[in-house]
C-alpha cells in the first residue's frame, strides 16, 4: 500500500527579496480571487470595486486623517497586547481593558470636567484611564501568577464585566431613549494645529518607538522573550517568572488604558458598549502578523484598517450588504496569513510506511 502523504518542514530562512516576492504574489492572487468572488456574487465590475476601496481609504483629506487615526488606535491596542503575547500570556482582554480605560476617562470628563482646570483634568484623565486598564489586566495576571488560573478565559470574562459596566453606567446616567451619551467635546484632549486627530497619532508614534525599545533593548524585554520561549529556562537562569508576568501585564494594561483615553478623550468624547468595536481582538491578529515587532505592526494595522474602511466604502457605494465586503476582507487576509505560513514551512510529500517506522 503506497499511499501518498504529506508533512511540514520548517524552511531555511530565505533571502529578503524572495520573501517580498512571495508576499506580492499572495496579495495579487488574493485580489484576483476576490475579484472573481465579487463578479460571481454581485455582478459588479471588480476594478470599480477596488477603485471604491481605495477612495474609501484615501478619497479625501478627511478620509486620510480618519484612516491614520484608526491605524493609530488599532496600533496602540496591538502594542499593548504585544508584550503579553510575546511572553505567551494569552491576553484576550484588551477589548475590556481599553473599554474600562475609556469608561474611566468618560467618568472623569463627566464629573470633574466642570470643577478641574483643564491641564489638571487631562492629567487626571490620563492617570484614571491607565489605572483602570492596569486593574483590568493585573487581576487575571495576579491569579495566573499565584494560582495558575487560565488567563485566556479570565481575560475574556473581564471583557464582559467591562462591557456590562459601561452598559450600567449609561443606563444609570443617561436617561434618554437610546441610552446615547452626548459627546462632551469641550473636555476632550487638546487639538493640535486644528487637526483633531493629530495628537492621537503623535502619541501612538512615540509609543511605537518606546515599545520597540522596551522589547528589543531592555532587560525587561529580554526577560519577556525568555519567559515566552521557556518558563523553565527562565527559572533556571534566575528570572522571577511571577514578577515578570505581573509587571508585563501592568505595562499591557496601562497601554490599553491609554488606548481607551485616546479613543474617548481624543476622538469620540463619549462612550458606548461598542466603542472599542472588536479592536481588542483584531489587535491580536495585528500583533501576530507583525511577528510582535512594533515596526511591522505599523504595516499590518495599516493593512487591516485599509481593508475595513475600503470595504465599508464598497458596501455604501454599491449599496451591497456589508457581508460582501467582509467576504473580500476575509479572502485577502486568508491569503496573507497563508503566505506567512508557507514562508516558514514547506510541504514535503512522503510515502507512508517508509518514514513512519
Amino acid at each position: 500500500m503506497n499511499k501518498m502523504s504529506f508533512h511540514l518542514v520548517k524552511r531555511e530562512p530565505m533571502v529578503w527579496y524572495k520573501n517580498v516576492f512571495v508576499r506580492a504574489i499572495a496579495i495579487i492572487a488574493s485580489l484576483i480571487v476576490s475579484a472573481v468572488a465579487i463578479t460571481i456574487l454581485t455582478g459588479k465590475n471588480p476594478l470599480e470595486v477596488y477603485a471604491s476601496m481605495v477612495s474609501g481609504a484615501f478619497g479625501s483629506s478627511l478620509r486620510i486623517w480618519s484612516l491614520v487615526q484608526n491605524v493609530a488606535i488599532l496600533l496602540c491596542i496591538s502594542l499593548a497586547v504585544t508584550p503579553a503575547f510575546k511572553m505567551k500570556f494569552w491576553n484576550c482582554g484588551a477589548e475590556g481593558q481599553v473599554l474600562i480605560g475609556g469608561l474611566a476617562t468618560t467618568a472623569v470628563m463627566m464629573f470633574l470636567g466642570d470643577s478641574l482646570p483643564y491641564p489638571a483634568l487631562i492629567v487626571v484623565m490620563l492617570i484614571a484611564s491607565m489605572l483602570a486598564g492596569i486593574i483590568w489586566s493585573v487581576i487575571p495576571a495576579f491569579c495566573k501568577a499565584l494560582w495558575n488560573t487560565n488567563e485566556t478565559l479570565f481575560t475574556l470574562m473581564m471583557n464582559y464585566v467591562a462591557i456590562q459596566s459601561v452598559a450600567f453606567f449609561l443606563k444609570y446616567f443617561v436617561k434618554s431613549g437610546s441610552g446615547v451619551l452626548a459627546p462632551m467635546s469641550e473636555y476632550g484632549l487638546p487639538v493640535l494645529f486644528g487637526q483633531s486627530y493629530l495628537l492621537n497619532i503623535i502619541i501612538v508614534a512615540v509609543l511605537t518607538v518606546l515599545v520597540y525599545i522596551y522589547l528589543k533593548k531592555t532587560k525587561h524585554g529580554y526577560e519577556i522573550s525568555v519567559v515566552g520561549e521557556s518558563e523553565n529556562t527562565a527559572k533556571y537562569i534566575g528570572i522571577n517568572v511571577r514578577k515578570v508576568v505581573i509587571r508585563t501585564l501592568v505595562v499591557s494594561g496601562a497601554l490599553c488604558g491609554i488606548a481607551g483615553l485616546l479613543l474617548v478623550g481624543g476622538t469620540n468624547h463619549t462612550i458606548s458598549t461598542t466603542t472599542v468595536d472588536g479592536r481588542g481582538f483584531t489587535a491580536i491578529m495585528v500583533s501576530w502578523l507583525g511577528k510582535f515587532n512594533p515596526v511591522y505592526m505599523v504595516l499590518t494595522s495599516f493593512l487591516i484598517v485599509f481593508l475595513q474602511r475600503g470595504a465599508g466604502q464598497v458596501s455604501t457605494d454599491f449599496r451591497l450588504p456589508s457581508a460582501i465586503s467582509d467576504i473580500v476582507t476575509g479572502i485577502i487576509l486568508f491569503f496573507i496569513i497563508g503566505c506567512e505560513f508557507f514562508l516558514q514551512y514547506k510541504i514535503v510529500s512522503t510515502k507512508s510506511g517508509k518514514e513512519n517506522d
Binding site: S66, G177, P183, N268, S272, P321
Partner: protein, 422 residues
Amino acid sequence: MKKILAVMLAAIMIFSLAACGGNETGKENDNKGMSESPIAEVALNVDYEVPSDFKIGFICLHDENSTYDLNFLNAVDKIKEALKLTDEQVIVRVNIPEGNECYVAAKDLVSEGCKVVFANSFGHEDFMIQAAKEFPEVQFCHATGTKAHTSGLDNYHNAFASIYEGRFLAGVAAGLKLNEMIEAGKFTAEEAKMGYVGAFTYAEVISGYTSFYLGAKSVCPTVTMDVQFTGSWYDATEEKNAAEALIARDCKLISQHADSMGAPGACEAAGIPNVSYNGSTYDSCYETFIISSAINWAPYYNYIIGQVVKGEKIDADWCGGIAEGSVVLTGINQGVAAEGTYEKIQALVEEIKAGKLNVFDTASFTVGGKKLDSYQADVDTDAAFQPDTEVIADGVFNESEFRSAPYFDLRIDGITLLNEKF
C-alpha cells in the same frame, strides 16, 4: 440499477423544484389577498428644479434587512426617481452606529459636497448636532429626534410624522379582527387580549402602542393589551421570544414596534394574526398579516430638498400627517382581516382629515381610573428629564404639537406592561 435510480431521483428533484416554483409564482401573481391601501396615495408636489451640483446624504443605522431602515431607503429611491436625481447626487451610508461613527459619516458626506445630511436613528441626534455646529452652511435633518427646537442651531432640524394616526387605524383593523373571532365563538369578549412587542419604554413607543390600543378599543370596547419590551430597536431573537411569550400568555393578536421580522415570524408560525409596522410583511407572513402602518419619508425629503434649493429655511420641527402623505397604510390582507375593515378605515381616514377624530381624545382613555384634564409632558429634552409643557387642551392630548417627536408617555388603563426597558 444505480443509474436508473439516479435518473429517477434527478427527475423527482426537478419536478419538485418546478412544483415549488409553480407555487411561488402562483402566490405572487395571486394578489387578490391584498387590497389597495385604504389611504389614497398623495403625489409628491415638486415645484422646484434641482441643480445638477446638488447633493444629499443619508445616514442609516442598519441596512435593508431592518424594516425600519428599509422604509427610509425605499423613500430615498422614491424621491430619487421623482426628482430625477443621479447616483452621484444621492449618497447613502448604511450600518452607521449611534456613536462617533455618525459624526464621522456626517463630516464625510459634507466633504463629498452634500448640502443636506439626513440621519434616521434616535441615537444619531447628538452626533448630528456636533456636526451641525461645525458646518453651519450645511443643513442637518434628523428623524425622530427631540432637540432641534431647543438647540439654538439654524441648520439642525427634527422630523416625524403623526404616525399615531396610522397606528390608530391599524388598531381598528385589529379590533375588528378580534370582534370577528369573538363572534365566531373562538373566545369571549372578556378574553380579547392583544400583545405588543415594544423596543424601549420610551415616549415614541408608548405613543405608538397606546394609539394602536385605542384604535382597537374604539371598535372592541372590552379589549386589553400586554406589552413586552425587548430593550433594542433591532433584535430578531428577542422580538421572536417576546412575541412567543405573549402568545403563551393567551394574546389573540400581536403587533410590534421593533424592526426585525422576529415578531411577525413568530405569529406566522403560531397562526396568530399580526398587525405590522414599517411596511408589509405579507410576502413572508401571508397567513397572519393583517395590515401595517408606516411613515413615508419621501414627503419630508421633498420638503427639505425643496427648501434648500429655493434657499428657504427648514422648520426646526416638521410633522407630516395623512394629508401630506407621510402617514401611510399598506393594503389589507383580505384573507385574514375581518370583513368591512377596508370600508371602516376609509371612513375614519376622512374623519381624521376633517379634524373630527382625535386619537388621543381624553374621553377615550383613563389613567388610574380617572379622565385627564391636564398633563405636563417632557417636551424640552434636558438633563433632568422634567415635565415642562401643558399638552392637554380642549379635551385632547395634543401629540406632536410642541415638537415633532412623540411625547405621549402616559400609562393608560387597559394596558399592562410586563417589563420595562429604558
